[in-house]
């Protein structure tokens, strides 16, 4: 019996087991990605729950966190969002759409020379605040902007 597999199955929620296996080289990082998906945070139905899920609690407003979004989205299906953090030692950026059924849209961890900047295209169900949350030196910061989502006319 494959002992690695047994250990992983038994310790499905024990991230320590997985981490140990990765460190031992027995599991390549790409194989454990699905298990690491932060289900609690992504399935949270409101911003507060999502923030709690990523450990952000009550992030401080920061002018060094820049959010670039259109004022009006021509189509809520594809809204371009750009987040740039000038906060030193930013290690991750998360993006939330407040009024979406599941506000947490994505979270990115940076390393090895990555600049704390990310752009993504999001679905927005209705006019809503888009929030960025940056983690730097263990503290959380946030910025937000409203995007108006319109009901379109004729799509030509």
């Amino acid at each position: 019996m494959n002992t690695t597999r047994r250990t992983v199955l038994k310790g499905a929620t024990a991230s320590g087991v997985l981490a140990g296996l990765i460190a031992a080289g027995a599991l390549r990082p790409t194989q454990v990605l699905a298990a690491d998906w932060n289900k609690t945070a992504f399935e949270a139905k409101d911003t507060a729950g999502a923030l709690k899920g990523i450990g952000a609690g009550a992030p401080a407003e920061s002018k060094d966190l820049m959010l670039k979004v259109p004022d009006i989205a021509e189509n809520g299906a594809v809204v371009p969002v750009d987040v740039v953090s000038s906060i030193p030692n930013t290690s991750s950026i998360a993006i939330l759409v407040e009024k979406n059924p599941q506000p947490l849209s994505a979270q990115f961890d940076f390393a090895n020379g990555a600049v704390a900047e990310v752009s993504a295209r999001l679905k927005m169900g209705q006019t809503s605040l888009v929030k960025a949350v940056a983690k730097a030196d263990g503290k959380f910061y946030t910025a937000q902007k409203e995007v108006k989502v319109t009901v379109g006319g004729c799509g030509g």
Partner: protein, 103 residues
């Protein structure tokens, strides 16, 4: 078999701009089809960007990301010719990995 990604990695000064276009339905699990049946959730959950063999971005993705997602990242310390590998895994366990060179 999932669609290949389109990856662009351009060195501008000392910053490499990486742009990736992925082909994926990104179904939220809340949409109903023409017959009224709910289309099951099928979306990319995680993605990684490796440059020159080092993990640069580790991303977790939710259902609010658009169909056929596009992501942009920046990094410092890469050279022309460095290999950029982007991989994703979705909630059904489907995966895809593609590479491009920094230009």
């Amino acid at each position: 078999m999932a669609d290949p990604m389109k990856i662009r990695a351009q060195l501008k000064g000392d910053v490499t701009e990486i742009r990736v276009l992925m082909g994926h339905a990104m179904e939220t699990g809340q949409r109903k089809d023409a017959a009224g049946a709910t289309v099951p959730a099928h979306f990319i959950q995680s993605m990684t960007v490796d440059v020159g063999g080092k993990r640069v971005v580790d991303g977790q993705i939710g259902t609010s990301v658009s169909r056929n997602p596009v992501f942009g990242f920046k990094m410092k310390g890469a050279k022309v010719g460095d290999k950029v590998v982007v991989s994703w895994v979705d909630n059904k366990g489907d995966k895809r990995s593609d590479e491009a060179a920094v230009a």
